[in-house]
Structures are given as C-alpha cells and as structure tokens.
C-alpha cells in the first residue's frame, strides 16, 4: 500500500541529507517497517546512480577554433598597448 505524501517528501529530504539527526533516525525507523517507502528509496538511489553513470562528452576538436573565427575583430587599442 502506498505510504503517506508526507513520508514521500521525507524520502527526498533524506536523500539530500537535509534532516536533523533526530529526523534521520526517525525516518530510518520508518523505512524498516514500510515496504513502500523502502522500495521508493531503493529506486531513487538506483535512478541517481544511472543518471550519474552517463559519460561526459567532449566538445568537438575544432570547437575553440570555430568560435575564435567568429569573434569580433580585436580592437586596435589592445594591439597598440603591446
């Protein structure tokens, strides 16, 4: 059976470690007895792990060069300063 809405909010606070020590202990006790919340917590942890497992993409090789070509012309004052 689905647990209360309040407890569903608590799952997220628990994941964010956004709780006092007492709240954390109380919530952990709740998890021990509530299959529904335990299941949700498990699924959320898995979801986070899946999202985090994504590889990081690198910009294409000529990226900097392409942007540099599009920059407005370097100001004369700058060249003059050197």
């Amino acid at each position: 059976m689905a647990c209360s809405k309040e407890n569903k909010v608590l799952i997220h606070q628990y994941l964010d470690e956004d709780m006092t020590l007492l709240e954390k202990k109380q919530f952990e006790q709740h998890i021990m007895t509530c299959k529904d919340c335990e299941q949700d917590l498990k699924e959320l942890r898995k979801t986070i792990a899946l999202v985090q497992s994504g590889s990081h993409f690198e910009a294409p090789a000529n990226f900097t060069e392409n942007v540099m070509k599009q920059l407005p012309k370097q100001s004369k004052t700058y060249k003059w300063k050197h």
Binding site: H12, E43, T47, L50, F57, E58, F63, P72, Q74, K81
Partner: protein
Amino acid sequence: MDIVVKKIIVEVKKGDQQAFGELMDLYKDKVYHIAYRMLGNVHEAQDVAQEAFLRAYTNIDSYDINRKFSTWLFRIATNLAIDRIRKKKPDFHLEDQVAGTEDLTYYSQISSEEELPEDQVVQLEMQEWVQQEIMALPPKYRSAIILKYLEDLSLKEISEILNLPVATVKTRIHRGREALRKRLKHS
C-alpha cells in the same frame, strides 16, 4: 576564484582574444556537455555552446571578476539551451522519437570496423536510454537534474546559475528525480 582563471579573464577584459581561447579550452567541454544533455543533439549542442562563448566574449565587461566564472558562463549556456527548447516546442510530440536521438553519437563516435564487446554495447544502450529519459523531463526539471547529477554542482551554485531560490531548486530536483524514478524503475 582560481587565480589562473582570474588572470586570464583580466587579459580578456583588456581585449586579448588569445586569452579568450585559453579560457575556452578550460571550459568548452563542460559547456558542451551541459548543452548536449539539455538538448540531446550534437548539432544543437555545438550551436548553443558556441553561442554561449560568443556571448560571454561580447559581454565580458558585465562579468564581475569577484564571482565564480563558471557560474556566469553556465548561466549563459543553460539560458540559451532553454530558449532553444522553447522554440522547438510547437513541432514536438510525445510519440515522436526524442529530438536528436537518431543521430545520437555513441555509435558514430566509434569506427564501424571495430567490433564492440558485448558489455560495452549494453553500457552504451543503457546510457542512450537514460539520456532519452532525461530529455523527456520538462526543461525546468531537466536543467536542475543535469547540473546536480552530471555536473555535480552544489545547490547554491545551481540556484545562482538558474537564478532561483535554493528552495525552488530543491523542489525541482525532487520532482525531476521522482519523474525519472518512475520511468527508470523497470530497468
């Protein structure tokens, strides 16, 4: 802020384009990655990332050197990505293939003669599927989830990038996480 970055930016502010190139080399991968995750398409990601740097260059005078540069830059990039998503909304249907997935890069980045080991294929398919589910999130949840879990930024930084109170960022992460949980639970 990093003293090296600060020095480079001082030069950029004076108008040194070479220094801007150095700055780009430091941040291009991150900016591109955020854009890719937001848009799910390599061409659009490249467009948005390039535009973000061009805007950063032309607006460098308005950047306050005492603040974190990446926060300012990522804000430009996420705003551009969100604009882009809004613009393409009219021709977007839920039953369509997720935008850009047909040219998803995982396979195209690997030469075709090369046989991939089975577990690597599974890994790539898995990543492709997770990206599709991220793309299915409403943009406001998508940006929060990407910055938190793929860029590993603090709530405070995310709130500065998205220009939202920390409490709102938290709510968006909670909702995004919940939506993803429902979609990914049958994996």
